[in-house]
Symmetry: C2
Subunit: 311 residues, 2 copies
């Protein structure tokens, strides 16, 4: 089969990345622009199209050759309607249809997914979970996100919503002395409330650390308070792994995100011990792996939508 | 479309039920026999076939009219290979291929699923979750089982294994004073270890109650110790619901099993409160329902395999 070509776009609160991606998941050229969402959605679409032309030119490709364009964007988004509705981290972008202007300008199919799903899809398409039929990705960054890819398709729940793996319950049952932090999701002690970069930073404040990096550094120096915070993250990840194994029972669990893949060796033993200890999970059937593509996962995953859906 | 016909068989440790089921999920005739697994697998298959002929005769159907036969059986089973491998509750039934002798005798396709999955499928096919595209069923009985039905198909994980929802973690994070019971699944404080009939009975022993029914009765009389045990089950179910909502994000959560559907009103408020409180679950999108089919769910679900796979 000859190489197919697509554009992948990854929209975050700070920057927008645009890449020329082939059907083997290789990125031939990429560029990025500042998001500056408040300058307006229409203006941003124009800049994305210009960036698309730039990467096409650098790759030696033309718009006509494209299967389509895929967009991964910080949610909330409606993948089904192709609409970004995220005034929270993309100020002024309420109810913005992104697939219509892209499709109209390029004359090619356009697709939208939220960024956690497009990253998971990217790791399945071209990264650490390549070709696995059941994949769960957990992304530990500022928050905790996740995506589930079954037979190469993003899993969707009721009304097209995606799983919210960052909000799996972890410490709800803890006794009061061990009170778990509250979360905007509506409960206390969910995975994000314990294991996100924000939660680690928050826990570190009491000891004078400014961010999760400082807590990690202190832990490495042997500080007992920092070690306790990190231990708590480990236990939360262990419990989240147990949940993932006994719900989706995937072949591959991918850990990504700044706090996830960068500190992978810190978390891996606890997660692997889970898989080894679970008597109902077939022995040796589950791999716990580090995300391979980093920030490129969203680009590869977004582009892959055009290959699976359009050509 | 005209009515199609199948046999459904539900194999438990104590009894085997056999029914003539139509493609609308109606049971036209059913019978049951004692399992007496130790009398041998071959002998049991003969008795199942005789029972099948009996229900066919009572329904006024013939073997020739059947789409096929579906079997739900207490696991472990391999649905993919059609093999029962459960010497634990079906003594002597190790590595027993049930689909070949049924297929040979009837000249029709035969299918096997574990009983939790066939019950979930039955509730989707003809019960409380009829027609919903994403269904999670939790069965609270002696143990806690569950099944996930997506677009009318049983969800399978790695190596064809099904989710083990009874072993979602609940109280692993609890401090030591609140030490959670250990489970054969390899962890402590999973759903089954807290919310199963066995776990309730175990917790009740300290206060002189013999089984879960006695604990429930004492709770109804206002006994504070019994209320504490029941409250613990409620909280476990609440946390399990939170997990289910943020992983599979289903339209319908079906609660079944002796302790589940019989005591549904006891658990419902806590489960519904979860769905109402979860900010990431679309408002009003999830229904928490009581299983409708009771013991017939497994029969209907098993038979439905023949309709979805064979004709």
């Amino acid at each position: 089969m000859s190489e197919r070509r697509a554009l992948g776009i990854d929209i975050g609160g700070t920057k927008i990345a645009v890449a020329a991606v082939d059907s083997a998941g290789r990125i031939h050229a990429q560029t990025s622009l500042v998001t500056e969402a408040e300058r307006g959605f229409g203006q941003a679409v124009e800049r994305m199209l210009a960036a698309g032309d730039e990467v096409l030119a650098r790759a030696g490709w033309t718009r006509r050759e494209l299967c389509g364009v895929g967009v991964g964007c910080a949610g909330p988004v409606s993948a089904q309607r192709g609409v970004i509705d995220n005034p929270y981290t993309l100020p002024t972008w309420s109810n913005c249809d992104i697939v219509t202007p892209l499709r109209t300008a390029l004359g090619k199919p356009a697709y939208l997914e939220n960024d956690a799903d497009s990253a998971a899809l990217g790791e399945w398409f071209a990264g650490a979970a390549r070709g696995a039929s059941r994949v769960v990705m957990l992304t530990l960054g500022t928050g905790v996100g996740g995506g589930v890819v079954l037979e190469g398709r993003i899993y969707r729940g009721v009304r097209g919503e995606h799983p919210e793996l960052g909000h799996m319950p972890i410490a709800q049952f803890a006794s009061e002395g061990d009170a778990a932090p509250a979360c905007y999701c509506g409960t206390r002690g969910c995975l994000e409330a314990i294991a996100s970069g924000t939660a680690v930073a928050e826990a570190g404040k009491a000891f004078g650390w400014d961010d999760s990096r400082a807590v990690l550094a202190a832990c490495e120096r042997g500080d007992a308070n920092a070690a306790r915070i990190i231990e708590r993250v480990k236990r939360a990840l262990e419990m989240a792994t147990w949940t993932v194994l006994h719900t989706f029972m995937p072949e591959v669990v991918v850990l990504g995100g700044g706090l996830g893949d960068a500190q992978f060796e810190l978390w891996r033993p606890a997660m692997e011990a889970c898989a080894a200890r679970a008597t109902m999970v077939p022995v040796g059937s589950v791999r716990i792996v580090k995300a391979e593509l980093g920030n490129d996962a969203g680009l590869a995953g977004a582009a892959s939508l055009a290959f699976s859906e359009a050509c």
